[in-house]
C-alpha cells in the first residue's frame, strides 16, 4: 500500500534522485520542489519525480524565503508527507513550512515505511538510546532525512511536468556577504569505507597518520563529536553520531574511540566494524566485529607499513 502524495523539498540537487526514487516506493505521486531556475530544474528532470516545481531564488534571496509559497503548493492536495533534506537550510525550511501546515517535524528519520496506509517514521532519540517509531495524526507531516536512507538505485525516469512555483518569496533577511568554503565537503553518508577517530588521538598532527591509513584503505575520515566540537581538529560536518552524520559503510575502522551510545547510534549500520583502543573495557569492543586492544600509536604505523 502506498500513501497518495509525497513532496520532496531539497536545497541540494545531488540527493534528489535518491529521495524521489525512495519516495516512489512509498507514494503514488512524488513532487520535487527545487531551488534554482528552469534550466537547473530541467537538468534534474531524470530524478524520478512525477512533477518538479522550481523556486527561482534571486541572487540576494534564499531558499527559505519560499517557505509559505511551498506550503501553499502542498495545501493544494488534501494530505501529504513532505520530505526535506537534513541540511541547515533544510531545517529552517522544514520548521517554517510545518507552521504553515500546522504540523510537527520529525527530524533525522532513518527509516520510512508505509504499513496499512500509515506513514511510519523511525528515528533515534535520547542520543541513540532508543529508536522511536512515530506516525503523523494530522493531514500533513514533515520529515527531515539525510542521504543514504533509501536503498534504491535511481531509475532515471524523465519528467516533463516542470513549472515555476506560483507564490512569491517573502520575509527575506538582508544578506551582507556569503563565503563559499573552498574545500569540497566530504560525503560521509555515501562513503563505502571510513576511518573513525576518537579522543585517543593525542594531537592534531597525528591526524596525518590517520589520513595516511585512510588513503591506503581508500576510505574517508570521520570522527567523534569531541574531536570536531571541542578540539576543532576536524570540521563539524565530519563527526559521526546521532546528532552528527549517520553512516552505513562496508567498513569502518575506529581509532582510539570509546564508543558512546550517541556515536554507536550513528555507525551501527556499518557492515564491518573494526576497533582499535587501549581500553579493554571500552564499549566499542562490544559493537565491533574485530578489535585490537592496544596502543593506536604502535598499531596504526605498523598497519600502514603492512598495507603499503
Amino acid at each position: 500500500m502506498a500513501i497518495p502524495s509525497i513532496f520532496i523539498v531539497s536545497d541540494n540537487y545531488s540527493v534528489l534522485p535518491e529521495f524521489c526514487c525512495g519516495a516512489k516506493t512509498l507514494a503514488d505521486s512524488v513532487t520535487a520542489i527545487v531551488f534554482g531556475d528552469e534550466t537547473a530544474a530541467k537538468a534534474a528532470a531524470n530524478c524520478s519525480a512525477d512533477k518538479i516545481i522550481f523556486c527561482p531564488v534571486a541572487e540576494e534571496g534564499a531558499p527559505e524565503d519560499y517557505a509559505s509559497a511551498i506550503a501553499a503548493e502542498i495545501k493544494a492536495v488534501p494530505n501529504a508527507i513532505v520530505l526535506v533534506n537534513n541540511s541547515i537550510r533544510g531545517h529552517l525550511l522544514a520548521g517554517k513550512i510545518s507552521v504553515y501546515l500546522d504540523t510537527a517535524v520529525i527530524s533525522g528519520a532513518n527509516n520510512l515505511s508505509v504499513e496499512e496506509d500509515k506513514f511510519i517514521c523511525s528515528r533515534m532519540v535520547y542520543g541513540g538510546t532508543a529508536q522511536r517509531k512515530e506516525i503523523f495524526t494530522k493531514p500533513y507531516g514533515i520529515v527531515t532525512i539525510a542521504g543514504g536512507i533509501f536503498d534504491v538505485a535511481p531509475a532515471g525516469g524523465e519528467t516533463t511536468d516542470i513549472r515555476a512555483i506560483e507564490g512569491a518569496p517573502e520575509g527575506s533577511i538582508p544578506r551582507i556577504s556569503r563565503n563559499e568554503k573552498k574545500e569540497g565537503a566530504v560525503n560521509l553518508a555515501a562513503a563505502k569505507r571510513i576511518i573513525d577517530i576518537g579522543r585517543g588521538l593525542a594531537a592534531e598532527e597525528d591526524l596525518d597518520m590517520c589520513r595516511k591509513l585512510a588513503k591506503l584503505l581508500d576510505a574517508e575520515v570521520g570522527c567523534s563529536r569531541p574531536i570536531a566540537e571541542n578540539n576543532k581538529w576536524m570540521p563539524k560536518a565530519c563527526y559521526l553520531g546521532i546528532t552528527g552524520v549517520q553512516v552505513k559503510p562496508d567498513l569502518i575502522v575506529t581509532l582510539g574511540l570509546s564508543g558512546q551510545v550517541q556515536h554507536i547510534g550513528g555507525i551501527n549500520k556499518s557492515k564491518v566494524i573494526i576497533a582499535i583502543n587501549k581500553d579493554k573495557a571500552a564499549p566499542i569492543f562490544k559493537n565491533a566485529d574485530f578489535g585490537l586492544v592496544g596502543d593506536m600509536y604502535k598499531i596504526v604505523p605498523a598497519l600502514i607499513d603492512k598495507l603499503s
Binding site: 532508543a130 567498513l251 551501527n268
Partner: protein, 253 residues
C-alpha cells in the same frame, strides 16, 4: 537589550536504563539542562553583558521537572537575571510544534528583543522548535548562528555557518535565533554565581496554548543489539597487526 534564552530540562541520557524488554526506564535518570541550551544561555549572557541588557531564561515542561530546585539554580547560575517557567503536564511527549506553540504563547506575555535557542534538545534533537516559535509569532528566525555582533538597538549582524559556506545576515529585531554549539564554550558557573542564583526571581507563567499533538509514538525501544563477531585480540605487536591485516583480507578489503 532584553534577551530570552530558552532551555529544556531533560533526563541525562547516560543514566537512562534499558529494561530487558528493550523499553526505557527514566526513573534512575537525573535531570539536566539540555546540553545545547548551555550554548544558548552563554550566548544570552554575553549579549546581555555587551548591551547592558537583561537575560531571562525560559523553560517549559512537566511541572515535576521544573520544580527541581537544583536545576533552577543551575540555570540561574549561568547568567540569567530571572527564570520564567511554564509548567505543562498536558502531554509529556510534546512534539516539536506543541513545544513551539507553548514557547510562542509564553513569549506573548514577555518583553524581548532577542530569543535565543540551542541547536536542538539533547533528548529529541528536532532542531525545529526555535524556528517554529518565531514563525508562529511572525518575526524573523534564523538557525545555526555561529557569531553575533550588535549593530544597533534594533539590528544584529549574525554569522551563519552552512555546510558549504558562511553567510553574514542583518537581522531586524525582535527575532528568534538558534545558535550552533560552535558559537561558544559555555562557562562553568563559579561558586559566587551559584550562591547568587539562589536569590534570583523565579516566576511561573500560565499560557493558553493547548494544542493537539501532530504525532503519535507507536513504539520506543532500545536498538536491538547488532550481531557483532567481537573477535578481540589483546596486543599491539607484530602478531596483532598481522591478525588485523588477515581479517581485512578475509573480509575482502
Amino acid at each position: 537589550m532584553k534577551i530570552i534564552a530558552c532551555c529544556k530540562i531533560v533526563p541525562n541520557e547516560e543514566e537512562i536504563s534499558i529494561l530487558p524488554n528493550r523499553e526505557l526506564s527514566m526513573t534512575g535518570a537525573s535531570l539536566k539542562i539540555s546540553q545545547y541550551d548551555l550554548n544558548a544561555l552563554e550566548t544570552g549572557k554575553q549579549l546581555a553583558s555587551e548591551t547592558n541588557g537583561t537575560m531571562t531564561a525560559l523553560s517549559i515542561g512537566p511541572a515535576a521537572s521544573l520544580a527541581n530546585s537544583k536545576i533552577r539554580k543551575d540555570i540561574l547560575s549561568r547568567g540569567a537575571d530571572e527564570l520564567s517557567l511554564v509548567p505543562d503536564d498536558s502531554d509529556e511527549c510534546f512534539d516539536s510544534l506543541q513545544t513551539a506553540k507553548a514557547i510562542a504563547g509564553a513569549l506573548k506575555l514577555m518583553e524581548y528583543d532577542v530569543v535565543i535557542c540551542g541547536a536542538g534538545s539533547s533528548d529529541l534533537y528536532a532542531q525545529e522548535v526555535g524556528i517554529q516559535a518565531g514563525t508562529l509569532l511572525g518575526i524573523p528566525v534564523m538557525n545555526n548562528i555561529t557569531g553575533i555582533k550588535v549593530l544597533s538597538e534594533s539590528t544584529l549582524l549574525v554569522e551563519r555557518t552552512l555546510e558549504n559556506g558562511v553567510e553574514a545576515l542583518e537581522i531586524p529585531l525582535p527575532a528568534v535565533l538558534s545558535v550552533s554549539s560552535e558559537i561558544n564554550i559555555p562557562a562553568v558557573p563559579s561558586m559566587r554565581d551559584i550562591m547568587k542564583a539562589g536569590k534570583k526571581p523565579v516566576n511561573e507563567l500560565t499560557i493558553e496554548a493547548k494544542t493537539d499533538a501532530s504525532t503519535q509514538t507507536l513504539e520506543q525501544l532500545a536498538p536491538a543489539a547488532q550481531d557483532r563477531r567481537q573477535e578481540i585480540i589483546e596486543g599491539d605487536g607484530e602478531e596483532a597487526v598481522s591478525a588485523l591485516v588477515q581479517f581485512l583480507k578475509k573480509e575482502g578489503f
